[in-house]
């Protein structure tokens, strides 16, 4: 088990090296650069050259890359060219926002998706089943940004039930410890701050969680339908186990295997989907930071944040693999 985890973590090194090379090249091959972003209308060829020289951007790309690698090895991702903030600081303050949003979307997708899929399967061919099939088809096909705009327009702008953007009302004097605002409010007993953060999460979480929700409904439904026809379920019924025990211990548990894999894969997609959702809802997270860094050509922030997202993605996949083993001892890794 431990060897498996270590081996998987070691596999991260070539993945991250490859990714860093691609990122480094991609950013520098794009037209424009930090100098034009910094100078705007006051740019002249001389000033652009002076800035490129000052930031070392006029050196051969491999020299720049080597100096970048040396710093990253010391966990120094550099500072934002726009604000002078260290990238580690950007991650510390912005990543929790994305984590909170992703968790909220996942809670929505799993909390609604598994019961819906399960009950649709139990009422196979019924109204609920047909509704869930049609609903999940719509959920999968609807673009995230369109849903985000729609939700925002209806529930925030027209009805005024929920806030249109942001993570928390800035007039609320809230204490931030972990930068996970809901948790911070609970820890510090500033429950109003916590509730306000929840209200800010509802619409973006629904927008972000709808596609995973639809997928989870479909997978759960299909998986439960498969499992209920298995021999061991019939055996369990024959030996007189109660229906609730059969459903909980035999049907649901076995049906969960493909669902867990799906959730793991969706978690990675949620992280990337957060970029769109955060932009629409002006939700200050890592996605918005990446978006503005692309516009401002903030190389250090882009490289640092994307690398960290890649690490998180790989770690999530590892955790999913390990969870799989817990659910099904037959495939437990050695």
């Amino acid at each position: 088990m431990l060897r498996f985890v270590v081996r998987r973590l070691l596999q991260l090194i070539p993945i991250l090296l490859g990714l860093s090379v691609l990122l480094f090249l991609w950013l520098r091959l794009l037209p424009g650069g930090p100098a034009t972003a910094l100078l705007g209308e006051r740019a002249t060829p001389e000033r652009i050259a002076a800035i490129n020289h000052a930031y070392g951007l006029d050196q051969p790309i491999w020299v720049q890359y080597w100096s970048y690698l040396k710093r990253v090895a010391r966990f120094d991702f550099g500072d934002s060219i726009q604000t002078g903030r260290p990238v580690t600081e950007v991650l510390r303050t912005q990543f929790p926002g994305t984590v909170e949003l992703t968790i909220a979307a996942l809670i929505f997708a799993v909390g609604v998706g598994i019961p819906l899929g399960y009950f649709a399967a139990r009422r196979h061919g019924g109204v609920l089943d047909n509704l869930s099939v049609v609903g999940s088809l719509i959920g999968v096909t609807i673009p995230v940004f369109f849903l985000a705009f729609l939700l925002k327009y209806v529930f925030a702008v027209k009805l005024g039930w929920l806030p249109p953007s942001g993570r928390q009302d800035v007039r609320i004097d809230a204490t931030h410890i972990t930068n996970l605002f809901v948790l911070d409010g609970l820890l510090t007993r500033e429950y109003d701050a916590s509730w306000d953060a929840v209200k800010h999460l509802i619409l973006p979480a629904i927008a972000l969680g709808t596609i995973p929700l639809a997928i989870i409904v479909r997978i759960t439904r299909a998986s439960v339908l498969d499992v209920v026809n298995e021999d061991y379920v019939r055996t369990a019924e024959a030996k007189g186990l109660t229906t609730s025990v059969i459903r909980r211990r035999h049907v649901l548990r076995n049906a969960m295997l493909p669902v867990v894999t799906t959730i793991g894969l969706q978690l990675g997609l949620l992280l990337s989907g957060a970029i769109l959702t955060e932009t629409v809802f002006a939700f200050p997270g890592i996605g918005q930071e990446i978006y503005s860094s692309i516009l401002n050509k903030d190389y250090a922030v882009l490289q640092g944040t994307i690398l960290v997202i890649a690490i998180v993605y790989v770690v999530i996949n590892l955790v999913v693999d390990l969870t799989y083993g817990v659910l099904d001892p037959r495939v437990r890794v050695r």
């Binding site: 037209p31 424009g32 650069g33 034009t36 100078l39 209308e41 006051r42 740019a43 002249t44 060829p45 000033r47 652009i48 002076a50 800035i51 000052a54 930031y55 070392g56 970048y68 710093r71 550099g78 500072d79 060219i81 726009q82 604000t83 002078g84 903030r85 600081e89 950007v90 303050t93 912005q94 929790p96 702008v157 806030p163 249109p164 953007s165 942001g166 928390q168 009302d169 800035v170 007039r171 609320i172 004097d173 809230a174 204490t175 931030h176 930068n179 605002f181 609970l186 820890l187 510090t188 007993r189 500033e190 109003d192 809802f281 002006a282 200050p284 918005q288 503005s292 401002n296 050509k297």
Partner: protein, 561 residues
């Protein structure tokens, strides 16, 4: 089975213990009394939330050059002079009066008495000279054009230039005449002083705080710069507000009233600048009541906001949008072709269709408020027949031009580049010019291509920094620029001569002549002066929009809750 239960119990107990431990360590930072109500929500009379379009960057004004940073710094710092409310003209601030020597090279400022920096140290002549000498002595990374942008724009170089491209410095020295007067000596006269000193970049900062927080220590580190803590957390000025902190997770910067401010005390205790980069999100937050105002209202939103009862205030337009024409293209080097393009564009219709209601057609390359604006320049009123005739005379009836326009950007002088491009493009095609449209992302190719001379035609403009003609004419046509691709020595010399003329009236006359010369030469077509708008809740009072974005929040107040 029992083992599993026991393990669960241990895990649950550990989680519970950890939660108790964390919540024991986690203390609320809220004040138990004062401005906070029981729900923790402060009264809107105490706090004003303003939606900013971008992150304020660094809080050392000498290193700042963008509008969002200036908006915050303007409340914390003051300069020797300031712009009058709602105008680009200057008036006394930390200097009560100033006079120029006969040769135009020395400026003596009489300083306001009894002013203290927010750290309690005195503002005096020694502090003035400390600030000027600090800028003049910048070294290393601080000499990068993005770091000390306005010093380089106004004074040129430094005491020890580290790049051969830097010009010699216009600044020579500063002398403290006792405590209440300081004389700034220049190497040559310039019309930029004293107007440029109203820029937040030349604000007075506490020498004690600058030294304490190592303000000059900007260091290059790989492909980024590291800034000292003064610039990121300890700005110290004499203004009506003091810096109270930055909440990175919320994307806000907060300032609070300076209790020891020498002037009229601020009406609102706390101002929160909240970064909401999306224009639509800013509008919706205003409508939801979660912010009290925002800048850079999209022209399409103005009528909707007004009919919803919000205030929409226009800034006096202190900007210019022009159609650049690159004379590197031999066809555009012909005066008749440039004139034909000017005649082909229906600028009245363009301004009506693509700009906010208060926008006006530009006659020349500076707004009428600037001293040196000439009313009697050559004009090129819409006349497509004449355009065709001029093209035929030039032998360019079959002309094809690439026309660059920017995407993913909206500038105060150019609210909707695509719409503006579409209208102009249609006009030019009516006159028989074939257009090859080239759209590029503002920061990903557009600026680079235009500023390296790749575009035949392009859209660009400028918002004035201060009220001096050089800031417009000098910026565009004071030297060779690849955007325009021409060398016109008489024009370059005339602009340099006007800038070095100490007498204001003579200088204004010279700029009038220059503007006539420019409009005859026609290196570009001036299109519009467009007023950017500010939207405010209906209960926000006394907000006077500044044409040069020097809005003062100190006298703003709100009525009701």
């Amino acid at each position: 089975m029992q083992g599993r239960k026991a393990r669960r119990t241990v895990i649950l107990a550990a989680v519970a213990a950890l939660s108790v431990a964390i919540s024991g360590c986690a203390k609320s930072d809220r004040n138990s009394g004062g401005g906070s109500s029981a729900s923790g929500q402060t009264s809107s009379k105490d706090t004003l939330v303003f939606g900013a379009a971008g992150d304020p960057k660094l809080f050392d004004p000498a290193f700042a050059s963008d509008g969002e940073t200036f908006r915050v710094l303007k409340q914390i710092f003051e300069g020797l002079v300031k712009t009058k409310e709602g105008s680009a003209d200057i008036e006394p601030a930390l200097a009560t009066k100033w006079e120029n020597s006969a040769d135009g090279k020395s400026w003596t400022f009489t300083l306001r008495q009894g002013v203290k920096f927010s750290d309690g140290t005195a503002f005096d002549a020694a502090a003035v000279c400390y600030n000027f000498d600090r800028w003049y002595n910048f070294k290393g990374a601080a000499q990068s054009p993005d770091v000390s942008a306005y010093w380089q724009d106004t004074f040129g170089g430094f005491k020890a230039n580290e790049s051969p491209d830097l010009p010699p410095s216009l600044y020579k020295s500063c002398t403290a005449n006792g405590t209440d007067s300081a004389t700034i000596t220049l190497t040559d006269p310039t019309g930029r002083i004293p107007a440029a000193l109203a820029l937040p970049s030349f604000a007075m900062q506490s020498p004690t705080a600058l030294k304490k927080y190592d303000a000059d220590n900007v260091a290059a580190a790989g492909d980024t710069f590291q800034y000292p803590s003064y610039a990121t957390a300890h700005p110290t000025g004499t203004g009506p507000y003091v810096y109270a902190g930055r909440d990175e997770a919320q994307k806000t910067v907060t300032i609070t009233a300076n209790p020891n401010y020498w002037g009229e005390k601020p009406k609102i205790n706390k101002i929160v600048f909240k970064v909401i980069s999306d224009n639509n999100a800013r509008k919706q937050e205003l409508q939801a009541g979660t912010i009290d105002g925002y800048d850079l209202v999209a022209p399409g939103d103005i009528s909707g906001l007004k009919s919803a009862g919000e205030q929409v205030l226009d800034r006096p337009p202190f900007n210019i949008l022009y159609l650049g024409m690159n004379q590197k293209n031999p066809a555009l080097a012909k005066p008749q072709v440039r004139q034909a393009i000017a005649y082909a564009i229906n600028r009245d219709a363009l301004v009506k269709s693509s700009f906010p209601p208060a926008a006006v057609v530009a006659k020349e390359f500076m707004p009428p408020e600037v001293a040196g604006y000439a009313d009697d320049v050559t004009t090129y009123n819409y006349d497509p027949a004449k355009a065709k005739q001029l093209l035929a005379q030039a032998g360019e009836s079959n002309l094809t031009l690439n026309f660059y326009w920017p995407t993913e950007v909206s500038r105060p002088y150019m609210p909707d580049p695509k719409q503006i491009f579409t209208v102009i493009s249609a006009d030019l095609q009516k006159a028989g010019i074939k257009i090859k449209p080239v759209s590029k992302v503002w920061n990903s190719g557009y600026l680079t291509d235009v500023q390296t001379g790749k575009a035949d035609l392009h859209l660009l403009g400028w918002t004035g920094d201060y009220n001096d003609a050089y800031n417009f004419d000098g910026t565009f046509f004071g030297r060779f620029k690849p955007d325009f691709g021409f060398t016109n020595k008489p024009l370059f010399d005339a602009i340099a001569k006007a800038d070095a003329t100490p007498d204001a009236a003579q200088r204004a006359d010279q700029y009038k002549a220059i503007n006539r010369q420019i409009m005859d030469f026609l290196p570009a077509v001036p299109l519009a002066h467009s007023p950017p708008s500010v939207a405010l809740q209906s209960n926000v009072k006394n907000f006077v929009p500044s044409p040069v974005l020097n809005d003062e929040f100190a006298l703003v107040y709100t009525t009701g809750q």
